[in-house]
Symmetry: C2
Subunit: 493 residues, 2 copies
Amino acid sequence: MAKNPIVRDILKRYRQVWALNHSMALMGWDTETHMPEGGATPRGMASGQLAMMVQKATVELDGMVRKAEKARDMDDMEKGVVRVLRRGLDFSLKIPPEMVDELQRVTTEATVVWRTARKKSDFKLFRPHLEKIVKLERKVAEKLGYEKHPYNALLNMFEEGFTVRDADAVYSKLIPASRKLVDKVMAAGVYPEKHPLETAKYETEAVERVNQGVVGILKMPGDRFRMDVSTHPFSVRIASDDVRITTRYEGVNFKGSLFSTIHECGHALYELGIDEKLAYTPLGDGASYGVHESQSRFLENVVGRSREFTKLLDPMLRKNLPFVDGYDDEQLYRYFNTVKRSFIRVEADELTYNFHTALRYEIEKKVIAGDIEVSELPSLWNDTFEEYLGMRPKNDAEGVLQDVHWSGGSFGYFATYTLGNVVAGMIWHKMKDGAFVREALQRGDVMEVREWLRSNIHRYGSTYAPKALQMKVFGEAYNPDRFLQYLTQKYTS
Amino acid sequence: MAKNPIVRDILKRYRQVWALNHSMALMGWDTETHMPEGGATPRGMASGQLAMMVQKATVELDGMVRKAEKARDMDDMEKGVVRVLRRGLDFSLKIPPEMVDELQRVTTEATVVWRTARKKSDFKLFRPHLEKIVKLERKVAEKLGYEKHPYNALLNMFEEGFTVRDADAVYSKLIPASRKLVDKVMAAGVYPEKHPLETAKYETEAVERVNQGVVGILKMPGDRFRMDVSTHPFSVRIASDDVRITTRYEGVNFKGSLFSTIHECGHALYELGIDEKLAYTPLGDGASYGVHESQSRFLENVVGRSREFTKLLDPMLRKNLPFVDGYDDEQLYRYFNTVKRSFIRVEADELTYNFHTALRYEIEKKVIAGDIEVSELPSLWNDTFEEYLGMRPKNDAEGVLQDVHWSGGSFGYFATYTLGNVVAGMIWHKMKDGAFVREALQRGDVMEVREWLRSNIHRYGSTYAPKALQMKVFGEAYNPDRFLQYLTQKYTS
């Protein structure tokens, strides 16, 4: 517990907010996993009511947080509590309720329209809704305030302290280097574009057993963790000792389900590794979207898609999936690591993924600044895509309409996916350019890797802002060189 | 929506309470079905916080409810809203928070001790805890206020308006008649005490398919209903269009699982049948514990344990449970309807069940009035048991220690189980002494029975107090003769 009496009082009062968030997290999980269809309308109603209560209870903390901001001699945890609450208050106090309501209304409607527009591959349908959203997002940026670029206000909502300048620095290195690398890797032909296992059909039960086996290899704690099924996989912390993931079963191409599971386990391990003493506080959460994504990408790609991990998976795969017969571990490894330029972000591999977010980042930056109009988005999308990947989407469905994010008003989100890769690369570098991971996996010792992540990153929760955390762990922040080194070592050596 | 402007305002404000109750219902469901062990402590913390918020939000309605109580020309729904809220406020305003806290603390501890005491069959361990609880329950009765008998205050908490006088009237008819009836039925020997199928072991998956089949026969709506597994079966309304039950699988004696499922479906149908316009109001719930139990008992016993329903189950049972081969429908019917004097309430059949609640009712009435001391409970239990059932428990575990209710402070609850039987009997009588049910089931038409229950009982929710509802439907309330007639017809004709 905090020593500072004001922070102690704050944490006591905060329990109400914590309890409301706990039940909202459970409601969210249930909605995606078990809820009968008929529960949707009342669930929406209940979530709305609880969100208002959270909002009210948070705003009530403002006076105490103000006092605490003037206090001295606070330890890192106490400073963290004040910092994180101020971030929440900033939004609550600066954005008027009418604007929150309007955003809610506009995005709910836009999401419905977006689904139809994508199905019909017709941007015109979606355009007026997106225009409203962009206008609102610009207003949000104005209300929140920013230095230099309005988009900074939005980036900061997802990644504390992350700016256009930071993002430009990341992408200006990542994109040209990735283009060369992809050319080289594809020319070499070791990593195939396609693999016969991609068309192998499977029984859900068989891959369920495989995923249970993966959960076993990763030593996920059975008394604090569970796995369910949902259309879109996710992880959620219901409480510090109750973290859940979901996975999906599509009946074909089992690596989709397998790596979804590993990815979500990466997120879950972060939540499970947060120091017990941060439970029930505002710090019992990841440092940022980017840092959170670094944990899932690291586990999915650096660990999961390695030759060493493939070896660990081998007996389980052969036992449950008869169709892998005739493919040795090297073949399985290549199936797990196909490299291909594709139109759809969520299907992209490690090497090409960042092109997709860079494109979205550039577009968002320009449209929020008012440098381009919403009507110009499809052509700008296609031009930039062609520049990065050398091919042009044939229609809006495989272009500008593919993601749900904009219809939900999530401007500033996409870059954090790449930050996940970037920070995963920094971890890889810190782990002796991956040697630490390879050696641990050769011994079948996943716990050693988990323990590194826990003691260096997980345990702090959101005690430190993402840049401060990176400086503490790596002595540098968001350095894309490490990720490029990782890719180069993996794909060209 | 209500026409009265005060009630309209009340209902608007009430949505917060509704939302909190919604999330607490989901939390309760999750705790028993899916939550990893580690989630227990935070779940307890969250429930406590939310319960306080409900309490606070309810008390804030007092002024408006007071105003509404003076209003005229309200319709039944509006009157119901005011009546039900007043019941909740009565408890919140009359019982000081310290007393609620103390009850919470004492009962939590007592429940832990009770488990050990039952395991060791040692009432002495439990006695000091039960003494504290009885003392507190007496205080609660004093604070709530009552006419004539302090136990009336406690009975009223579970069954609105139900009194010692009512209970005495029910039991004084039910007990002597049941004693004669049991003697007669057991002498006749048509209904066996034991059946070979009681020892038949089953695979969980097989009985799961049977239960899914039952859910199908009962036409439970798949988009508004789901079934899970828990140690103690229960039903819960998460929302008007999201009602869930659980069942259990013990691996032997499949009727346990089967009739649990049917019982809980009875509760669920009540919740599913409540008029849509009562959603999000305080009336979207059953009329009382007794009336609720009448729905589950009616479906379990009058419908489920009938020859006609056995015939409907037949193909499904034969398909999934090979061991029923060689038992015809009459044999299955007798297996479903064994009659036996037993020590354990939850194992009792229709004919002997009410002895168990009568015993507890008599003891509670005396101990709350201070006519007997807690220390006298074991011997009073055994003496009364012997009087009713002609046999004497060999130890406290199969006697006074068998139920969890007292350790949780639920004094006044047990009688409602019998009210369930009594009201189920009244429904049976209203349905032409069961002919309506038998004919519908012979046609395989469960919906006709469901529709009767929905239009006569379910749809009103808690618009009417239980006695008023019974007067409306039956022209009489809690008349035990109907249930006795039902038993006599079923077991002696």
